[in-house]
Assembly symmetry: C2
Homo-oligomer: 106 residues x 2
């Protein structure tokens, strides 16, 4: 365990950081604009969200499309590679449902 | 989506940060001393590891036992609640095996 060859470590390297997982959650639902992601993720700063999306783009998880409108429309969607992460998000959802108490409805 | 009631968000809140997931990976293998965790996680600073273990203890994921020896022996293990996270680590491992290339053996 702990070797560079560890698959968990490679997965964690791709998924590092809370926002990546939550951006994934959003984009697994469909294409989103920047503003939509921002409202879906309260507490994220525009800078952090931009950084995270760029990293995910560089990793081949997210695809960014600019539509030449005025003002330009920018949309984010998952690549087919990004879509493969659905299994991980599903495991998180299942665990959260079963084991992490929902404190929003006391 | 994005509501405080979202189970993914609750899971991510528990698992936030790279080191938590890698500490989990180690402790799912069995009880570990601080030094063992440190060698298994190259690049983690003692301060970060201590902080992370304390947070995991406060979350009820990790149990810390001090044995009154000289010098005192301190061991970390998962609680039964912590053990439930095995499903998440398993999903990460499966994804990493299938989709994240192993760059350690070029």
């Amino acid at each position: 365990m702990g070797a560079p060859g560890c698959p968990i470590e490679r997965a964690v390297r791709v998924l590092d950081g809370k926002w990546t997982l939550l951006v994934l959650r959003e984009l697994l639902e469909g294409t989103r604009r920047f503003g939509q992601l921002q409202s879906a993720l309260p507490g994220v700063s525009p800078k952090t969200l931009t950084d995270r999306l760029r990293t995910m783009e560089a990793q081949g998880i997210v695809e960014r499309t600019v539509y030449p409108e005025v003002p330009p429309r920018v949309e984010y969607r998952l690549t087919p590679y990004g879509e493969t992460l659905r299994t991980v998000i599903d495991a998180l959802r299942a665990w959260g449902e079963e084991h992490a108490p929902d404190t929003s409805h006391p």
